[in-house]
């Protein structure tokens, strides 16, 4: 291969960078070299270091090298680069940055954006002539596959880039990307690149006579193959640092094996002929060998500071403390040019915004609010103002986690636990953008126990303890949706698509039986009565699976873009004007006249019509702050481990630490020192667990009998652990539990004494029969029901209606809860129901992590205490309202008992 640095493309790009006073980073050059060699890989770089350019300029260099003389005049080249981004909001900024480069290089490339906001006119234009660069969300990429003749679009394609891949890899949208890539690569494997055809286009300026492949390319250099293979299709991921980068890359690149199997031998393949399980052409060493990881070795200095309360509250109440500390951040805001204040939930962000304006009225106009439920125009305005440095501070949620950098941001404040090291780092990275600047992040606890987390975070970052994002496996709901997607356009031939789907990481283990079940489900609607059925969706004609009904196809297209969420309702002013969206479950609890806060505005409900809540401005003082579900993120395993050590360290002051690294009081992290009064109370009432101990507290209150357990493993594992323990206890005696948990521990609450003592406690935490017991406890709780909501939407069972046609669609709507009950009772073997249970099992229960924890418990000392009153540790769990139930009583008996108990009160 020719040296990258001697290539024309490199020279052009380097010179252009120089005019702006920049020099390429070493990692960018490395990525460019791989791209020009037609290789695939993953770029690992933090935001704010030119990661977009590491791939985009690679594509530009490659194009210039292929067309050194005509790169400035060649237009209508067909699609060259697909840029997948997880957030619509990012597309515009990225597109603008790319257009700027292309303009200054005087190239004729077009940049198009394709997402839910793209107008029909623009879509039609793109259909006639694809831009060279298409910036697209995973959903819109699937929508592209519902267009007839979509395969033609990909013939000229050189690179597919998945931006922010770390955000996608562990989600169903990541699975969507995997499937779309398998189709695109599959199309290319079946039909070679159209480069020769594309080259033969008339000179720009002439009429676009497409597909006229007679004349020869005017680039004489083409005789000697330049840097950049003409057949090459490469895939590039761009990712922040996560624990499993290598795996993240393999997942993304997995579909490439389709290309490698086909190209060397037979050329274009016929549908249905691909060999089964063919992995030839794939390095024998294994998947790790495919593609390269290009790492940006840029070390950014990071400073973590905690905002400490003056006095420690011994009974921590979630969310309560944070606001009390609001005044403490004012000096921090003063010191910085711009500050981002990250809040974990939208509800709390509204409250923070209001509070800051109340205590610091001078911030009015310089303080803004940004979260996912706020009207798009307002969000865009906030983003623009951030770029321009017009804002002093922005209160935001994860909505500002991603995306292009806001240079004026100097400081970040994290309110409440970020629940993970990677997310904390990402947020910290939003500050201090010039290379030598220090990223500064303040941690502000929402309850005093969270200060332990601050100490744990510091130590985890010091030890480079960063979580992995585990890719999802066998998501049948996404597959069902994808097959219907393909059936909407040209239809599909099962044998071809089966091979492609198998090439993805998600479905590598899909069996033929399961595949046939999918086909059966989309064609005959699962288990139906023999007669009296008119199920209609996908039809089979001469071996091709198609959706023929225009209405069903249209409904499916609308469906793809549906964001899985609670039923959201639009909120509008009576006189017109959009305020934002809000959960239906919140609105349904309000009466007309009730006031609430949304997007920083006090409004009062007037009426609800169809899916819109009409409001007017309110002057009422006591406005409700809406709560949004789903705002809670679980603590990661990595952070959990450090947390246990940190609590142990906290005992060190008294010389009790068990982990060997005895701390002298002077070296104790400041957060733990501050917490000593709380630890003292915990010690006095109950016990402060060491790393090799598991604390269990049993307390009786007016509410009933509580059992608190503190494994410090994170919310998800606790939920699983609690269900398992509740199930095992319920085998001893008929009993009903209400279950609550947070990241430190969990609670079983019952109206009768809980039979746990030192005679059976080790047995209850035994790893024996774990799988069977987990399965039974999953069935006994409603966890699967909650999982089913997403699955039902993705799998096409819940239809949210055509825009503006809410009423008409109502007779086709049923709630996820009702559907779950109906399926569970009448079609329990259904693939989507099975998936709901499987997801709980795989994701929620995290069997491996649970087993590890139980084994740890077996080796450690279980400390049972019977405190007379609530302890500092248990208080935040007790006040938590998210609860799960598990019972071994007969339902009717339970109702009678509940009634008689209430009668006694």
């Amino acid at each position: 291969m020719k040296d990258l640095k001697k290539s024309k493309g490199y020279a052009v790009v380097r010179d252009w960078l120089a005019t702006r006073g920049y020099k390429p980073f070493a990692y960018q050059e490395e990525a460019w070299r791989h791209i020009c060699n037609g290789e695939s890989g993953l770029v690992n770089a933090p935001t704010g270091t030119g990661k977009t350019f590491s791939v985009f300029l690679g594509a530009v260099i490659q194009f210039i090298n292929l067309h050194p003389k005509t790169y400035q005049s060649k237009a209508k080249n067909g699609l060259q680069l697909i840029w997948i981004t997880p957030l619509r909001a990012l597309a515009k900024d990225i597109g603008r940055a790319m257009e700027e480069v292309l303009f200054e290089l005087d190239m004729r490339w077009q940049v198009g954006i394709r997402n839910g906001d793209t107008s029909t006119a623009d879509r039609a234009k793109q259909k006639r002539q694809m831009p060279e660069v298409l910036i697209i969300t995973p959903e819109s990429l699937h929508l592209l596959l519902t267009q007839k003749g979509y395969a033609d679009l990909f013939r000229t394609l050189k690179i597919i880039a998945a931006d922010e891949w770390h955000e996608l890899v562990g989600s169903k949208r990541g699975v969507q990307v995997e499937l779309a890539l398998s189709r695109i690569v599959g199309c290319r494997a079946a039909a070679p690149s159209r480069e020769d055809v594309a080259d033969a286009q008339p000179i720009p300026g002439g009429k676009s006579k497409k597909k006229n492949a007679s004349s020869k390319s005017e680039d004489s250099e083409m005789a000697t193959p330049p840097l950049g293979g003409r057949e090459a299709l490469s895939i590039w991921g761009i990712s922040a640092t996560i624990g499993n980068l290598e795996q993240a890359k393999d997942v993304l690149l997995a579909p490439l094996k389709l290309l490698k199997v086909e190209s060397p031998q037979s050329g274009p393949s016929q549908p249905g002929h691909s060999p089964l399980g063919g992995q030839e052409g794939f390095p024998p060493e294994g998947r790790g060998e495919v593609g390269t990881i290009v790492r940006a070795k840029l070390h950014k200095q990071l400073e973590i500071l905690s905002v400490l309360p003056d006095e420690i509250e011994k009974y921590p109440w979630a969310g309560h403390l944070g606001i009390k500390l609001a005044a403490k951040i004012l000096p921090i805001l003063e010191e910085s040019r711009t500050t981002l204040i990250f809040i974990n939930t939208r509800g709390m962000s509204e409250l923070w915004y209001q509070t800051l304006l109340t205590i610091a009225p001078h911030l009015a106009g310089a303080l803004a609010l940004h979260h996912g439920s706020i009207e798009k125009e307002l969000r865009t305005w906030v983003e623009e103002a951030l770029h321009e440095g017009k804002l002093k501070a922005v209160v935001c949620t994860a909505s500002l986690d991603l995306g292009v950098d806001f240079r004026p941001v100097e400081t970040v404040i994290q309110v409440g636990s970020p629940k993970g090291v990677a997310r904390f780092l990402q947020r910290a990275g939003r500050s201090g953008h010039s290379p030598e600047a220090i990223s500064r992040i303040y941690f502000l606890p929402t309850h005093s126990l969270e200060l332990i987390e601050a100490a744990a975070l510091k130590s985890a970052i010091g030890e480079q303890f960063i979580e992995s994002r585990e890719p999802l496996l066998l998501c049948y709901d996404v597959l069902v949706q994808y097959l219907c997607t393909l059936a909407c356009s040209d239809g599909f031939i099962p044998s071809v698509i089966f091979e492609e789907v198998k090439a993805t990481n998600c479905f590598a283990e899909l069996t033929e039986d399961e595949w046939n079940e999918m086909l059966y489900f989309i064609t005959s609607g699962g288990n139906a009565l023999q007669q009296y059925d008119e199920y209609k969706k996908v039809e089979v004609e001469a071996g091709v699976y198609r959706i023929n009904s225009r209405r069903i196809a249209m409904r499916h297209r609308l469906h793809i873009g549906t964001i899985v969420s609670d039923n959201m309702m639009k909120v509008k002013f009576l006189g017109g004007g959009y305020v934002g969206v809000i959960e239906e479950s919140f609105i349904s609890r309000l009466e007309p006249g009730d006031a609430f806060t949304l997007a920083g505005r006090h409004v009062e409900l007037v009426t609800i019509k169809e899916m819109t809540a009409f409001v007017k401005k309110s002057t009422k003082k006591n406005a409700l702050i809406p709560s949004w579900m789903g705002g809670r993120l679980p603590l990661s395993a990595s952070l959990g481990k450090v947390l246990r050590q940190t609590v142990d360290d906290a005992g060190a002051v008294r010389g009790e630490s068990s982990n060997g690294k005895r701390q002298t009081p002077g070296k104790m992290p400041v957060e733990l020192e501050v917490l000593q009064p709380l630890f003292d109370l915990q010690r006095r009432l109950s016990h402060l667990p060491k790393e090799a101990e598991l604390l269990i507290e049993q307390i009786e209150t007016r509410d009933g009998f509580h059992l608190f357990v503190y494994p410090f493993e994170g919310r998800l594992v606790h939920e699983a652990m609690a269900a398992l323990l509740a199930y095992r206890i319920s085998r001893i005696t008929p009993i009903t539990f209400s279950i609550a948990m947070n990241d430190y521990g969990f609670e079983l609450l019952s109206d009768q004494p809980i039979p746990v003592d030192d005679s059976n406690v080790y047995e209850l935490f035994s790893p024996a029969n774990l799988i069977e017991d987990i399965q039974r406890s999953v069935n006994a709780t409603e966890m699967a029901k909650r999982k089913f909501r997403d699955i039902a939407v993705i799998g096409g069972l819940i239809f949210q209606g055509f825009p503006g046609e809410y009423k008409k669609a109502r007779h086709l709507q049923a709630s996820a809860g009702l559907l779950f009950n109906v399926f569970n009772e009448y079609d329990a073997g259904n693939v989507l129901i099975r998936q709901a249970y499987q997801e709980v099992f795989d994701q929620q229960m995290e069997e491996a992590r649970l087993r590890e924890m139980l084994q740890r418990v077996q080796k450690s000392r279980i400390v049972l205490t019977y405190p007379e009153r609530l302890t500092p540790f248990c208080f935040p769990i007790k006040v938590d309202s998210l609860r799960e139930n598990l019972t071994s009583e007969k339902l009717a008996d339970r109702v009678r008992r509940m009634q008689s108990e209430l009668g006694r009160l």
Partner: protein
Amino acid sequence: MQAPLRHQLQGQTLWLSAQRSLFWEEEKALVVSDLHFGKTGHFRKAGIAVPQGVYKEDLQRLVNLLHYFGPSQLIVVGDFFHSHANVELDWFRRWRNEFSSLAITLVKGNHDILKDDWYRAAAIEVVHPTLVAKPFLFAHDRCDTAPGLYSFCGHIHPGVSIHGLGKQSLRFPCFYFGPDHCILPAFSKFTGAVSMDKGQADAIYAIVENELIKL
């Protein structure tokens, strides 16, 4: 099957059953509401794969009730059929032929949009908006009732929440008896339930699996 519970009202004897029906002894009338027949078929025709078993069970339950009570008439308080005609309704028609001597009166509900001919062919007498059979009145929607007569309605799909110690909470479909009206549970199991205000009620019977429990 639990034996039906007796509920005396306005000097009349009503038998409530956990199978979501009410039998009016004096008139030998079985009263049901919100059957939503054909709903699964309607979903399936639109490509939404809801299992049909739920419809089959609803039909079977109605047969069992007819055998058990042996009524001379069936009063449906609205939403007998979910939407337009489909083949699932053909199945109902075949079923109807086997009970040809049974008089069926439908108090039209908002979902009952079939053509008049269809009801005629199925030998269903349709009334709208109310059916008066003293001392009672039947109307799908409570809004259509008039003062003076005790009325039976459907439409809402009533449910009741029960709370207990230890933060326990459960919700069931129910019969709701107010001072001047009763709201019947939805007969179809392919329906949800809306929680009723217990404070206003004279009596509530929760349907807990196969049992009725008076609250």
